[in-house]
Amino acid sequence: MNTQLLGWIQFALYVVALVLITKPIGLYLLRVLDAEGRTWLDPIFRPLEKLTYALMGVNPKREHNWKQYTFAMLAFSLVGCLFTYAILRLQNILPLNPQGLGPVSPDLAFNTATSFTTNTNWQSYGGEGTMSYLSQMVGLTFHNFVSAATGIAIAAALVRGIARHSAQTIGNFWVDLVRVTYYLLIPICVAFAVILVSQGMIQNFKPYTKATLVEPMKVSVAKVDKDGKPAVDAKGNPVMEEQTVTEQNIVQGPMASQIAIKMLGTNGGGYTNANAAQPFENPTPLSNFLQMLSIFSIGSGLTYYLGRMVKNQRHGWTVWAVMVALFIAGVLLAWHSEVAGNPIHQHLGVAAADGNMEGKEVRFGIFNSALFATITTDASCGAVNSMHDSFTPLGGFVPLFNIQLGEIIFGGVGAGLYGMLVFVVLGVFIAGLMVGRTPEYLGKKIESYDVKMAMLALLILAVDILAFSAWAVVSKWGLAGLNNNGPHGLSEILYAFSSGTGNNGSAFAGLSANTPWYNTTLGIAMLVGRFLMIVPILGLAGSLVRKKITPASAGTFPVYGGTFFILLIGTILLIGALNFLPALTLGPVVEHFLMQGGKLF
């Protein structure tokens, strides 16, 4: 069978599977996100849940207004961030360190702690060479769960703000956090990990296995100085040295438990440096498919949850449809560009017959690489099964563009929905004026405060990405990390700050970002992109929850159906995307035209 057709079949399979899981997950979310909700796991987790509240001194019956909710979320995140920072700095004296790895450097520890707290999982380090088992399992995995739960909690708080009326409170942050972790993330991850193990993924506490190579290899590697950073010569280029390799370290450890939450919680931080391209981390086509599906699962289910909560299921499905449409468009563009490949390589006769295979796992091929890249950046996952840096310019444009839209296509768990709802509010505002009424979203008037909060969220996204990138491209520290010059180098820097701001965590790997400057600026970008976004969104929730609901009439337009679908897509593209077009033009777009003209970077 030809590979194109196989691609189409897998694509259809993926979308159908996504449709099928949306409603069940949405219905389950409805129970989890209701403090009184009952689930079949109650016998196991109810006592644990009650014990947790008792230990934390939380009264689960007392709900928060938006300011209390925001404060609880920020305080919790701050403590969690400091906790992980401490573990990373002290991993050499803490247990579960069979490799005897040393402490993580201050800037890398800051970067990593913020990275995992913000659900970004940007990794300036290679997991297997830097992190002890304790750091991985406790310091990082802890955040994989709670940062995902935080995102879902905030989405739920915003949805409550929309659904309730003439009220003050939007839920209890601690209850949301605990319930999502216990009833949603842990059980699914346990089951998912078992399935992954069945596919050949490892789960153990053994030290790394040393294997002797059948045939010694000569390799040229970047020289590393005593601080563990790449050495550079006087011109700032990395110093390379020849090494003969006779044995290989084969990574071991508690992988499956990590990978389940990495995907489900759209964390994306790889256990190994090669992430989902590493054979242990992604052993089979089925594990690949399930990992991709798990990335979208909660984001997709949340749209159903939205529909149920606001008692307008068609609205939920329309939001879902917008996400799917943008997702499909992205996949098609990336797939097409990768299949078309690199005209220069083809001209020289060095290209694979069926397109651009540079940086891709032969096991997955072009379609599954393009699909994975689109999914991981539609959501704020950041796991990769191929190297985005090696994509064709337009193929690489897709992940970059997806992140810059704000990762609203299913998005990070929770974050995707609340990001999308910002566009819904703006779209409703403009369209509401167009029909001659003070704009209403599901019966709630959208007034200046709400517009202010929504625009603030957009503004923060744009400022965070553009200002840091612009600073980096004209500063010494910014350019020092670049392995490629020209427009591709610009794309790499743009991608790094987009990925950080969007809490994605994937990289255009050509950039050596493990420097104090990049670790610090990216750490700040991640914090801003996460928490400064969340505050206006909770402010929006707090404003909406107080409003009365005006009953719908013939004078209000429906927030579902074809017209609303077009309106929402138009709003996203015109208000969300236009901001990044000039920078994108100088990066991937110019690169594309130059490649067509025979120039590479």
Partner: protein, 680 residues
Amino acid sequence: MKTKSRSLFDWEIVAPAIGDSFKKLDPRLMVKNPVMFVTMVGAALTTIGIFTAEPSLRGFVAQLAIWLWFTVLFANFAEAMAEGRGKAQAAALRRMRTTTMARRLHNGREDKVPATDLEKGDTVVCETGDTIPADGDVIEGIASVDEAAITGESAPVIRESGGDRSAVTGGTRVLSDRIVIQVTMEKGGGFLDRMIALVEGARRQKTPNEIALTILLAALTFIFLLVVVTLKPFGIYSATVFSIPVLVALLVCLIPTTIGGLLSAIGIAGMDRVLQRNVLAMSGRAVEAAGDVDVLLLDKTGTITLGNRMAIAFHPAPGVAENDLAAAAQLSSLADETPEGRSIVVLAKERFGLRAREMHELEATFVPFTAQTRMSGVDFHPNGSQALDRIRKGAAEAVRTFVETAGGAFPQAVQAEIEQISRRGATPLVVASNMATLGVIELKDVVKGGIKERFAQLRKMGIRTVMITGDNPLTAGAIAAESGVDDFMAEATPEDKLKRIRTEQAEGRLVAMTGDGTNDAPALAQADVGVAMNTGTQAAREAGNMVDLDSNPTKLIDIVEIGKQMLMTRGSLTTFSIANDVAKYFAILPAMLMATFPAIAPLNVMNLHSPTSAILSAVIFNALIIIALIPLALKGVAYKAIGALAILQRNLLIYGLGGIIVPFIGIKLIDLIITGLSLA
């Protein structure tokens, strides 16, 4: 104050508006509009850029600067045009408010003081020919007053002490009789002063939606400012120099100048349109709220029905010919000057060709209606005899007593007929001649022509109509069904009205109502949109947030449409403005990069002549589109009651899709023209 409808570009308004466009360049005024303020700063920077540019590019930068200034001036011109129409009216009003002298009553004596010296609580006398010096209430007497100065209506109106017609307005003239007026306004706070301030737009405050939109536009402006500023370092990295004028050109093209430039003009023009319908809105907020109204409370009498009952049928008693009943009914009504009475005469003539006769020819005397007898009719004295022949018509109970007293019987069939008529919502009037009951006249409230269609339109707009009436539920229900209102309140007291408004509001609805009486004042104040009739009391006029000078309650529907139009125009132009950015990107970005990356040429989809012509064309388009859209901003986007979804689809198509396509064509055309003229 009927204003002659001026053509859109009347020279008397255009000329001063051009001057005002320059006066409005004052930065203190400009800063209130962030979009245009940024544009002006850009224009200034570009002007400086003329001198620092390379000599070969000076012509280009100079043209850019000129067009950027034009962009700002065009926006100012739009606002000045909108204000100009109001100003012309204000000037006319000022001329009218001459230095009237007032005859003030002081301890029973009269002294003459200038009208401007009157204090609240003073009493003044006005007689035939006097101009009423201030707003007030008539506390003594009755007079006919010419209010043409305010309403434009030449027919005089009656103003009398007590009741619901006691309010008089300063500037109007007493035509006959003498009245004593108590001044109810503070110095300088009269109706006329407020009107002048309103039409001049002096007290214009931004409406809530306008504020929200301004925030959206300011935030977009800030984002695009950031986009353009960061483009400079990205350019440095890419070894491309972006000059300040070119970056300014990109910025001005991206920020929403079209809506930013027209926003205040739309608001002012909306108020002006309300005024042209002879309605004084106390604030833009009120007009905007009218567009949001969910429920309209309408008085039955005068709004839904013509206000008078009309005879529509004769129902004879058993054994009586309809003709005879009609003849008796006509006779009893010949001298009855009430509208009901006249309508009976008219019906008798229509149905049976019975002509009106003179009373004295019949040797009859008219017995007028009294509250005690609740009947009217005629007494005949054939040949001056004492043997009276008496015909009576009136309420069923009264006529029954009349017949039974005379020794007659009230037939069962007539009683049944009466009940049936009542059930239909009509009023039965029984006719009797001495002891014989002749039959029943059916009187009916006549619903105004076209009102049913009007309500159907409102329903499509998503507005529910509620009829308010003092009638019994039976009558009210019938009228409600016939007129097509969605709901009605029968036997409603002012308290009921107030309660109803509060309930609707508690359920999240916006309520509008009309009223005129003093007891309407609380409800008018409670309603989100309260339209007081100009004929009403001072209390009602103070309580409402609009005054209808024509006192035509149906006009509320017009105001709702204007309110909607105002929002639609803003929304549509915002969409248009943002959608325009796509084409401008395709014009300017390739032009900016062409020198460094010639390979990018395919992105120049419009095939514009050169980088300079491309940038110039985009800027010129951006400026001219403001001028081109001024008529739309002033007239407003057409409103049709076709339901929100249909309107949205229509406007998305015209202003969304149109907003994407139009600039591609426009910029290409401008490029052809300026290239042809060798301007770039």
